[in-house]
Each structure stands twice: as structure tokens, then as C-alpha cells.
């Protein structure tokens, strides 16, 4: 199983989204979410949104190992 995390404004769109799922890439997660959560999937397709696996920024086609933590990160606004 893959653990899913949504930060910043993406969290508002991810209400009711499962916290885990089976998937082989972050891109596949986005595709799978599109069926039940089209607004969230649209947000995830914004080019500024980054994806991390186990707290490292990766490409959307990164192969996911069992037990990975995938986080979706909108543009940061700290400081």
C-alpha cells in the first residue's frame, strides 16, 4: 500500500480521499483519483505541483515501492 499526503491548498480538495491506495507511480495515483475526485485531480495536474516519495522530490513516473509515502506539494509559501 502507498500512503497519500496532500499539503497546503491541495488538502482542501482532498477531503474524503483515501489515505492509502495501490499504485505503481504518482501519475497513476492522479489518474485513479480523477474518477471520484475530479477537482483534486485537476489541481494535481497544475504544472507547479510537485510530488515527493519518502520526502524526496521525484518525477511523476517514479516507480513506487510497497509502503512508500507519496506527498503532493503545491508551491511553498514559507519564510
Amino acid at each position: 500500500m502507498i500512503t497519500l499526503l496532500f499539503f497546503g491548498r491541495l488538502g482542501d480538495f482532498a477531503v474524503g480521499v483515501p489515505t492509502t491506495m495501490e499504485a505503481s507511480t504518482p501519475a497513476e495515483i492522479r489518474t485513479l483519483l480523477a474518477a471520484d475526485f475530479p477537482a483534486l485531480a485537476k489541481e494535481l495536474s497544475e504544472p507547479q505541483v510537485l510530488v515527493s516519495v519518502n520526502k524526496m522530490i521525484v518525477d511523476w513516473d517514479q516507480h513506487l515501492l510497497k509502503g512508500s509515502e507519496v506527498a503532493f506539494l503545491p508551491p511553498v509559501t514559507g519564510g
Binding site: 497546503g8 506527498a71 508551491p75 511553498v76 509559501t77
Partner: protein
């Protein structure tokens, strides 16, 4: 020597300065930056700010950024503190302190750390204004400020 802290509590500039100043008798310059919640964000006054971050990832990003600063400049000590949670106008949000022998190193490293904190570290701000909550949009100017360190031949 470097310190990185992410905390809900406030911080004390005087105490952080004292720690940097006393690191070594070769410290000739200490630069501090403190970021505060401003009363005006766009139009109208804000009621509060809520800061979220990605625990674990934020710390490792900050470690990396601070490590880069120590490689790039001649530094004696650096301190980075970022608050998370609920903040009110005029509250302190972020502290960067740098101690070095010469002033140019301290100034440049402090700016570098702030630019990266603004554009790369995994923090997100939500503002409460006129009874409504809204995520703050990232600024192109912050990305530009961070990018200049990639090309500068400092």
C-alpha cells in the same frame, strides 16, 4: 555549527544572537533576519495566519540548504528557526542568524537562506481575512530571488 528548529513556540532574538556571538572570539559579524506577520496582505487587515509544513521533509531540506551555505561562504555559525501553527499580526514567523568573521559572508548567507526558505522549504501559509480562510499564493519574485544564487558568481 548550525541549528535548525521548527516549532510552534515563539523565539527570542536576543538569546539566539547571544549564542551566535559567543561561538568563537573570531566572530566579527552577526546578521539576523526576523520575519513578522504583517497586518496587511493584499487588501484589508488579516486576522491570523496558519502555517503548515511537511514534518521530516522540511528538516532535511533545511539541513541541505544550510549545508550549502556553509560550503559557499566562510561561516562560523548559522541558526534557522521557522514557526508553524497559528500566528497573529506582528508575531514573529522566521529567524535566520549568521555569524562570520567578515560581514559580506554573513549578509550573503542570510539572504541566501531566506530566499531558499521562501521558495523551496515545505511550508504553506493560510490567511484568515474578513472571516474567510485562504491559502497564500506563492510569489514569482521569491522564485526569482532564489534562482539568482544559481547563476551568481559570488
Amino acid at each position: 555549527m548550525h541549528t535548525i528548529r521548527i516549532q510552534t513556540d515563539d523565539f527570542d532574538l536576543a538569546q539566539e544572537y547571544q549564542l551566535l556571538r559567543e561561538l568563537s572570539s573570531t566572530v566579527g559579524a552577526v546578521v539576523t533576519f526576523t520575519g513578522l506577520v504583517r497586518d496587511f496582505e493584499g487588501e484589508g487587515s488579516i486576522e491570523s495566519l496558519s502555517l503548515e509544513h511537511y514534518p521530516g521533509m522540511t528538516e532535511s531540506l533545511l539541513e541541505e540548504i544550510v549545508g550549502q551555505a556553509h560550503k559557499r561562504w566562510s561561516l562560523i555559525g548559522t541558526t534557522v528557526i521557522h514557526r508553524v501553527g497559528e500566528l497573529l499580526p506582528t508575531d514573529q514567523i522566521v529567524f535566520v542568524g549568521v555569524a562570520s568573521q567578515h560581514r559580506a559572508d554573513a549578509f550573503e548567507a542570510a539572504q541566501f537562506l531566506m530566499d531558499y526558505l521562501k521558495s523551496k522549504a515545505t511550508f504553506w501559509k493560510k490567511v484568515s481575512q474578513d472571516g474567510e480562510q485562504q491559502w497564500i499564493e506563492s510569489k514569482d519574485s521569491d522564485a526569482a530571488a532564489a534562482n539568482r544564487w544559481d547563476t551568481d558568481s559570488v
